[in-house]
Amino acid sequence: MTFDPRASLLPAIAVLLMLAVASLFFGVSDVSLSALWSEGADGRTAQILLVSRLPRTLALVLAGAGMAVAGLVMQMLVRNRFVEPSTVGTMEAASFGMLLIALFAPDLPVIGKMLVASLFALAGTALFLQLLRAVPLRSIVMVPLIGILLSGVIGAVTTFFAYRYDLLQSLNAWTTGDFSIVLRGRYELLWISGVMVLATYFVADRLTVAGLGKDFATNLGVNHRRVVALGLVIVSLVSAAVLVSVGVIPFLGLIVPNVVSLVAGDNVRRTLPLVALLGAGLVLACDIVGRIVIYPYELPIGATMGVIGSACFLYLLLRSRARVA
């Protein structure tokens, strides 16, 4: 199929901007341009906009783009389409780190929590890659199978200790993604996720080559080991930042790169902007819907994301299948 992802970039950016504006102006408190104008920069409306709406919108964009890109990087590194941070143990390991912090160092500042969570995420992902290396005969289904079971094992250990120390409810609170808690001062870590997306763009070509396999990459003069290490750091930092700030957003990292790859192929430098935009747009749209449906209450992103996201993707997948058939 001939499809140039660059052609769809402009419309995607336009849609994303529209969604972002909608996210800025929609919510329980009324924010309108006329009120903003009449009250001036210190008025209540401006305060709401700066303290709540803008941080929330930024957090949505950063986290959405970050998780989608992390999924893409993971899929390139492992050379398998069915992996993403929450199915190979990365997220579970980071949650385990959070649990240990809650047990032993609850007063740690948020940046410390994030670092510990990143280290655990790094260790968990590295463990997964190490396990894969021990299984030379990788069939396409064996890789996600090992990932799912590894994350099951790590998750079981976490649940075990959480159950023992009555932290199960807190664990649930961290692990369900929710953007309603985002305020100024509570989301800034997510900029790390944004920086990582940019960093991914700069190493995009190396990732593409690494996605062709170790021997091939080495043959082309790419230091495969270093690219894998770099990718690991990107995935771990993004996962930890998102987990610490808003919780797990499942399913995004798996589906978005897959849909983009179905229509636009596997050249990371070309697909990356689209993956990031689609991820951010999807999260934004789902969050806005979550704010509307049971207004003035809110649904957490997980619920809306599951319904809307999966309905959209089912449509996309089945439509593209019909075309292939």
Binding site: L131, L149, G152, L299, A303, G306, V307, S310
Partner: protein, 322 residues
């Protein structure tokens, strides 16, 4: 491996599984009984029966499902079967109201839910599997997305439902292995036995189906009909296990793949009982560990996921090293 050695290996593995199951059953029934046999034996017997029924239902449904889809990572749970069941339950409570639902005979509700599930799953998955393009990639993605979709709609309805009604619903959906619904146990046993008999008669057909659609048709199997019958059986078994103990996530995946790893054979006459035995060992031994070692201070799924995951990963690595 020569055919002889392979046959010996299969026999040996099967015998070991049988022995391990026996050990688990004996341990479950006798450990910590303190001589109070007239109470302990019937009490634990009912629990044991529940565990066995669930184990058989999950193992057989998963292996058959993997046979008709021709791959070893799709399970009814991953393709959203038990999420669909939970959704039907939620919708039932949501539309009829919890009071009316809990006033009804659980067997009637079970029958209604299973009937609805048969209709939906039948339509949905037959359409999905009979399509001409059978790309594993798409199928897996679509399955995961369907699962998320069903779970999210249930989650969504559960959020806007009345809190007291939600409590009743939660009670129904997260039934644990400790509180197996006894009024359903008998009907579940009957269904599992009936399905087992049907599967027994289908064994040669299943062996042929495992070769893939084209080969099966070339060998004279009515593929569409066989797949439909298998899907009906799978749906019934999933409904039984979900009604008894709630969704079990990756348990089916684990036991089916362990059975493939342990027994190098493609014959369902061996694979299905072996998978059922593996499932029984995990459930019964897990429940014993839960009761005796952790004094109920954790959940069975935690024990199973940990032990099962470690065992599976070790097996894969050992198999690769050889």
């Amino acid at each position: 491996m020569s055919p002889e050695a392979r046959r010996r290996r299969v026999t040996l593995a099967f015998a070991l599984l049988l022995a391990a199951t026996a050990v688990a059953v004996v341990a479950f029934m006798t450990l910590g009984a303190r001589g109070n046999w007239s109470f302990v034996l019937p009490f634990r017997g009912v629990k044991l029966a529940g565990l066995v029924i669930v184990a058989v239902a999950i193992a057989i449904s998963t292996v058959m499902f993997q046979t008709i889809t021709n791959n070893r990572i799709l399970t009814p749970a991953i393709m959203g079967f038990d999420a669909l069941y939970a959704l039907i339950q939620t919708v039932l409570v949501f539309t009829l109201g919890a009071i009316r639902v809990s006033a009804m005979d659980p067997r009637v509700i079970f029958a209604v839910e299973t009937g609805l599930m048969l209709v939906f799953a039948g339509l949905l998955y037959r359409w999905l599997f009979s399509a001409t393009v059978r790309s594993l990639h798409l199928l897996l993605l679509v399955g995961i997305v369907f699962g998320v979709f069903f779970r999210s709609i249930s989650g969504f309805l559960q959020r806007i439902i009345d809190p007291s009604e939600f409590l009743i619903l939660q009670d129904r959906m997260f039934a644990s292995f400790n509180g197996i619904d006894q009024s359903l146990l008998l009907i579940a046993t009957v269904i599992v036995l009936a399905c087992g008999a049907a599967v027994w008669r289908m064994l040669p057909v299943l062996d042929v189906l495992a070769l893939g659609r084209d080969h099966a048709i070339a060998l004279g199997v009515d593929h569409q009909r066989a797949v439909s019958v298998t899907l009906v059986l799978v749906t019934l078994l999933v409904a039984v296990s979900t009604a008894l103990v709630g969704p079990v996530a990756f348990f089916g995946l684990l036991v089916a793949n362990l059975a493939y790893l342990l027994l190098p054979t493609a014959r369902h006459a061996v694979l299905l009982p072996a998978a059922a035995l593996v499932a029984m060992i995990f459930l019964i031994a897990g429940q014993t560990i839960l009761e005796r070692v952790f004094a109920f201070d954790t959940a069975l799924s935690v024990v199973i996921e940990f032990i099962g995951g470690v065992v599976f990963i070790l097996l894969v690595i050992r198999g690769a090293a050889r």
